[in-house]
Symmetry: C2
Subunit: 331 residues, 2 copies
C-alpha cells in the first residue's frame, strides 16, 4: 500500500477491504490478550503461545463484517462474541493437536509437543471457558447458537475419527465432517453478526449460508495446501492428512481415481515419509487437486450469492473479497 | 425406611433430609439424560457411561438446597444451573482420567481406558459445552460465577500438576489446590442457589463460604478414603494418589512426619504395588489419617456455622446433614 493510500481512510478502505473493520479487530486482539491472563503462568503461557501465534482471525472478521454490513453500530455489541468465536477455535486447535499428536502448528512446535498433554488439555478447557464467559453476556439465542456450533464441532471431530484411515469415506461424508468441524463456527459467526445488527430472520439465515459455504471453501483449500502447499508459508509440513489418516478432499478424490499409492499411505497406521511422498506425487498426477479447487470455488461462489444482493458498502466488499481470498490463498 | 414413613411425605422429609429436594434432583437427572443425546453415538455413549455411572450428585444437591432454604420456589429457576454444575464436574472427570491415565472410575473401567484418549477428550469438551448451554440461560452474574469456577478448576489442575510428586508441597499449597479444583464448584453451586432465590448479597456470600468449606471437607475425606477406604465401596482401587503422585492431605501429613516409605513411593515416577502398600502402611502407622479427619471435620464445622443462623426448615436440615455426611461417609 502506498503512503497516500495509507493516509486517506476512504482510499485505504477501498484498497484494503478489511481496513473497515480494523478498529474492531484491534479490540478483539485486546480482548484475546486480556482473556488469557491467569494466576497460573502455564495457562497464560500456552494460551498466549497459540493466540499470538499467527492466526488469520478469519472467524472474528466474518462476524464483524456481517454485523457492520447490516448497519451494526456499537462495536461493543460485536467484539465480545467475535472474541468468543476465536477463543473456541483456539481451544479446539489445542485439543486437536493432542488428538493428532501433532508436532507443529503455525510454523512452530505444537503446544502439545512443547508443553505436554496435561497442560495443553487443561489450557484448551481454559480457553473454552473464557469463550463462554464472553458469549454468556449475550442473549439466549446467541448463547444457544454458539453452543450449537461447539456441539457440531465435537460431533465433526468424532465423525472424522470414524473415517480415520477408512477408504470407504465418500465426498458426502467429507461434507458432513467439514460442515461440522470447520464451517459451523464460520456459519455461527456470520449469523450472530447479522442477528446482533438487527437483520431480519431470513437475512440472518442467508448470512449463515454465507458462513457455512465459505467455511467449506476454506477447509477444502486447507486440504489442497496440505498436498501442494509450501511448508514455509503454511507453517507446518505438508502431507499431514496422509500421515494422520484424516480424510481430506484431495485424498478422497484420488482414492476414487484408484490411486494405489494413496490408499497405501492413507490406510497405513504409520506410513513412512517415502510412502507419503509417493502418495503426494500420485495425488498430483491425477485430477484430484484441480477438482478440489473447483469444488472450493463453487462453494465460494455459493457463499457470494446472498452478498451480491446487499446494498454496496465497504463491508459488503469485505465479505466478497473474503470469499475470493479464501480460495486464492497460499497459506 | 419403613412403608409408613415412605407414604407420609412430611415424615419422609424428616427422616431423609434429601427427600425435600427429590423432585428437583429428578428433574436434574432428566436434564442430564436429555443433554447427552447427540447425533454421534460415541458422544452419547461415553457421556452416558459417566453420567449414569453412579455419581453422588452432591453439587446439584447443594445448589438446590441453597435455593430452597432461602425460599426459592420455581423449580425451573434452579434445575438448569444445577444440571450445568454437574455437567462441568463430569466433563472434568473425563479430562482428569486422561491426565492421570486412570484405569478405573466409579467401579468401572475409566472412559479413557474403555473408549480411548481421542473420544474421551472430545466428549469432555461436549459436556463442557452442554453445561454452558444450560448456564447461558441465566443472567450475567450466574454465567460469570460459573465461568469463574471453571477457570479456578483449570488453575487447580495446573497447580496440582506443579506439585505432582513434589515433596516440597505444604498443607497451604494443598488448600490452594483443593479450593480451586474441588471446592470451587461447591462454592458456586451454593452461591448461585442463594442468589437465584433472592437472598441478600451477604447471605449469598455466606452460602458461598458454606460451599467452599464443605468442598474442602469433602476432598479431604476423598483423600483419606484413598488410603483407608474399601475398593468395593469406592469403586476404584486405593492408593491412587500415591500411584499418580497427587499430593493428598494424608500424604502431605505423612511426609511431614518423615515417613520415608511415603516419600519413596510419592517421588517415584512408577512406584511398584509393593512400594505403594508400604507407603499406605506407613501412613496408617502415623497420625496422618487422624489429623486429616480432624482437618475435614473442622471445615465441615466451619461450613455449618452460617447454616445454624438460618430459620429451621427441611432444607436447612438437608444442608446440615450434608456437612455431617461428607465427613462420615465411607465412599
Amino acid at each position: 500500500m502506498t503512503d497516500v493510500v495509507k493516509k486517506v481512510p476512504s482510499l485505504r478502505r477501498a484498497v484494503d477491504p478489511f481496513a473497515s473493520v480494523a478498529e474492531e479487530l484491534d479490540l478483539v486482539e485486546k480482548n484475546l490478550t486480556r482473556s488469557v491472563r491467569s494466576s497460573e503462568r502455564t495457562l497464560t503461557e500456552i494460551s498466549g503461545y497459540l493466540i499470538h501465534g499467527g492466526g488469520k482471525r478469519i472467524r472474528p472478521m466474518i462476524t464483524i463484517l456481517a454485523f457492520k454490513v447490516f448497519g451494526g453500530k456499537r462495536v461493543e455489541d460485536i467484539v465480545d462474541i467475535a472474541t468468543a468465536i476465536e477463543l473456541i477455535h483456539t481451544a479446539t486447535l489445542l485439543h486437536d493437536d493432542i488428538i493428532d499428536a501433532a508436532e507443529t502448528r503455525r510454523g512452530k512446535e505444537s503446544a502439545y509437543k512443547k508443553f505436554g498433554l496435561k497442560a495443553t488439555l487443561v489450557t484448551g478447557d481454559f480457553l473454552f471457558i473464557k469463550a463462554f464467559e464472553f458469549a454468556g453476556k449475550f442473549d439466549e439465542t446467541v448463547v444457544q447458537w454458539t453452543a450449537d456450533a461447539c456441539t457440531r464441532l465435537t460431533e465433526g471431530e468424532i465423525l472424522q475419527g470414524f473415517f480415520n484411515r477408512n477408504t470407504e469415506v465418500t465426498v458426502r461424508d467429507y461434507l458432513e465432517i467439514v460442515k461440522r468441524k470447520t464451517a459451523s463456527l464460520f456459519e455461527t459467526g456470520a449469523k450472530v453478526g447479522a442477528y446482533l445488527a438487527g437483520a431480519s430472520p431470513s437475512l440472518v439465515e442467508e448470512m449463515g449460508e454465507y458462513g457455512l459455504n465459505l467455511g467449506i471453501a476454506f477447509q477444502v483449500i486447507d486440504d489442497v495446501l496440505d498436498v501442494v502447499g509450501h511448508e514455509e508459508l503454511l507453517g507446518k509440513p505438508t502431507g499431514m492428512d496422509l500421515r494422520d489418516g484424516n480424510p481430506s478432499l484431495p485424498i478422497i478424490l484420488a482414492l476414487g481415481e484408484g490411486e494405489a499409492a494413496v490408499s497405501d499411505a492413507f490406510e497405513c497406521s504409520h506410513p513412512t515419509d517415502e510412502k507419503i511422498q509417493e502418495a503426494i506425487k500420485a495425488i498430483g498426477r491425477g485430477r484430484a487437486i484441480h477438482r478440489a479447487k473447483t469444488f472450493s470455488k463453487s462453494y465460494a461462489e455459493l457463499a457470494s450469492r446472498p452478498i451480491k444482493k446487499l446494498p454496496p458498502s465497504f463491508y459488503r466488499n469485505g465479505l466478497k473479497t473474503l470469499a475470493h481470498l479464501v480460495v486464492e490463498r497460499d497459506f
